[in-house]
Symmetry: D2
Subunit: 270 residues, 4 copies
Amino acid sequence: MASSSSLPDIQATGDSRGIAINQVGVSDLRYPIQVLDRYSQPFTTVAKISMSVHLPHHFKGTHMSRFLEVLSTHEGEVTMRTLPQILRDLKQRLDAEEAHIEVAFTYFINKQAPVSGAAAKVGFDVIFHGISRATCDDFTLSVKVPVTTLCPCSKEISDYGAHNQRGYITLEVRPKAKDGSWEMILIEDLISIAEQSGSAPVYALLKRTDERFVTMQAYNHPVFVEDVVRNAAALLQADARVASFKVSAVNHESIHDHNAFATVIGGDDT
Amino acid sequence: MASSSSLPDIQATGDSRGIAINQVGVSDLRYPIQVLDRYSQPFTTVAKISMSVHLPHHFKGTHMSRFLEVLSTHEGEVTMRTLPQILRDLKQRLDAEEAHIEVAFTYFINKQAPVSGAAAKVGFDVIFHGISRATCDDFTLSVKVPVTTLCPCSKEISDYGAHNQRGYITLEVRPKAKDGSWEMILIEDLISIAEQSGSAPVYALLKRTDERFVTMQAYNHPVFVEDVVRNAAALLQADARVASFKVSAVNHESIHDHNAFATVIGGDDT
Amino acid sequence: MASSSSLPDIQATGDSRGIAINQVGVSDLRYPIQVLDRYSQPFTTVAKISMSVHLPHHFKGTHMSRFLEVLSTHEGEVTMRTLPQILRDLKQRLDAEEAHIEVAFTYFINKQAPVSGAAAKVGFDVIFHGISRATCDDFTLSVKVPVTTLCPCSKEISDYGAHNQRGYITLEVRPKAKDGSWEMILIEDLISIAEQSGSAPVYALLKRTDERFVTMQAYNHPVFVEDVVRNAAALLQADARVASFKVSAVNHESIHDHNAFATVIGGDDT
Amino acid sequence: MASSSSLPDIQATGDSRGIAINQVGVSDLRYPIQVLDRYSQPFTTVAKISMSVHLPHHFKGTHMSRFLEVLSTHEGEVTMRTLPQILRDLKQRLDAEEAHIEVAFTYFINKQAPVSGAAAKVGFDVIFHGISRATCDDFTLSVKVPVTTLCPCSKEISDYGAHNQRGYITLEVRPKAKDGSWEMILIEDLISIAEQSGSAPVYALLKRTDERFVTMQAYNHPVFVEDVVRNAAALLQADARVASFKVSAVNHESIHDHNAFATVIGGDDT
């Protein structure tokens, strides 16, 4: 039976086209990972992962299996604290000057209804995105938060009622560097900012008293998609831990079959 | 260069496992097709098509390329009037006793706003599904219609406002047989039934006077997802052209990140 | 502040349209659940859940929040052994004669490469589907398994090479009733059947010696999509624990931008 | 009945948060459009469109319905020649200094099989992306092309066979400015570059002689995902009409359930 060492290593041969590759790696890889909740307790979730490296112009190919080997040694914990080590391992194992990782997963919060206090879990799409370059590292945390939005125009021009809908606010935040790592921003911090920026939060479990509460809460706090991104941007601008951010909001308009959206980019990068 | 006749035909060899295959064919095939609008005018749209045949236990395989050959001769017109001929061609060309075709496409209606009359197009997901068996043919028409739904409970228990959201009503209808074909049911007929079953229709283009109108229209016609399917089922039950139907409704609840849904099956088959 | 008891219960009012609703409930609900692995060890994964009940014609609506309440008490364990209890709870809590639950989640297996033994996890889409009716319960287990398939025709007619691709085999199996429950069929049992039915299994991590092995394994075991479903159907027919089944296979053809598919239905129901 | 002029215009009121909005508009709008084929013949297809404008900090909101009004006057033809006019209309109608439009649609080519000459249509995902700023306009054309890729490593290390799979190459190209517009680059030009960069093109309809041809063609032209992006990048670098480009390739690996991908960015921007 062939051993690895006796088989030719095509990837390691040279390439003469003179074209470096910005990113090469694996994507759409599903993997169970452990993340930490706000109390630093680990919980298991399912991630979709992509990992890649920069490939200099003179190498023909990268060694895809090594991405899996690195991941497999780190599945115990994937957080903004361990990402730098994973990136260092990728760079070393793949002999690369630059490595990227993107880890998208569902994060759950046990959320209590606003009046009855009845609890059930709500899931949020979270993405950790890390890059390690020769001279600097980069990290962004992205959280997508469902909210209710109620249209101020519809409320103002109608004798009663107002169209409202589910909207999604995505906060993509780059923390400031601190002590060789980054300022700690909790997923819950971003969820809180997003929920303050819409007309009302959404819940998994609402009893009738709760439904009355959120219906009137939304009617009392109408927001355009423009207001949503400005509200969130103002809160992120005021947050000393945030270096830069991108806020996106999309409303699944209840009176249309298309969406309304808005985006604000802010912070150091702009 | 090899000609087809000189190459072995593996598919045509025998199989001894004794297992007939209910359906074998191609799926997820994108193809431009012509459909007819309500005035019998052709218009071009993009379809996702699957075609399949029954394979008797003694044949090893079917000839996949022949599905494409049949489609390619019929792209000029795909309607509930031409589907029987396509199915007959599939049976003959693939030497099969049973053939299936499913054609999913977007159908557009130029829709006028209710007050201003401003017009823009709204797209609807439509599926033609045809089966030709040895002794009988089958056809269903499915149309998915976006609507606004406003919650009766939220309206009743709140001092003001009511949560509402985009919902989708899917009507899957089997017409009665008539004169060797089927009763003609227009896509527009099903859109109309669905739009009567929600709180208000949705539009692509609404000016402020229209927005005021649909906001109050929805508030005046609150419906649970249960009401939506019952309203549509009652209209389909009363339609003499309909042999059987399945009505599904899903509300993208604005106060939750999950959906509410309901299904009613009715007619001859139940 | 309003208490639930003082608010009108619109859902509990009557309905005079005379139309019973086959299914009404919640869908697309993301929730963390615990399932058991083959060694009965619990592990946490993320599920997409739908739950519904039958609604008699004389009730206006169901109480959606109760689905969440039942789920919230059962999140500790969702397996084919606990599903009957969840369904009983749904029937009781929602005062219904029939309840449905569908739990779709990703199941992971730590898979060793065939030569090097290097290990990494592969994810499989699994669906538990349970129905509890007045007189009988129903349960199906569905597992979707990625495999390599290599085309026998391409191999036979070409001087060298053969087109191959990733395919997905979905086995949907209804176990036989046994002792008031069902015969135990492990997720791993169905994965094994599917992997025997393609040209070669797929892995997350393959070193070069492994890649050589699976390349030649696939070339030595060419299968049409028809062979795939027949192979799996034959194994399920011979399994004394299986009451009925549906086998589907889809090949993401490497020489086309559409797919080839096949379906066999077998067992008691056919 | 209320006329528009008598209803308050909330969007036009002021905002004091001091936050300009980078993009606000509509997205996920399905619309039938006419594009031109390589012979300048119009054909109808279905597009998914997003349109947006920059909103200065002192305006509360934009007027979403005006996006639809502009679109509705331009549905006759959406091409790289008419996009500038649509963008100018958006800027004028929405009183904005910057406008964006993204039009994603399926483009079809009638493709002849390489030996038999049998013809059927293959669909390609195309995106037109235009931005009109105060001082300069921007345009990119993106085409996603399915191909076959065959692994050079698998071929080299195995005694026979080689794993291959469907891959997708996406070329996103910014043409050079020319005479107040841009250099004309045909969709077919990019398809051709992509198809030269993989192991073999894919087709909708292949007879056995064709299948033999493409099987051996792929085996004779093995490419890593790294080779694919380098091949395409080299062709784009040599094209005098191209100002800058991004080449992405993703292989749906037949031996894994995840993908391999690579990206090269090139041209003036880098």
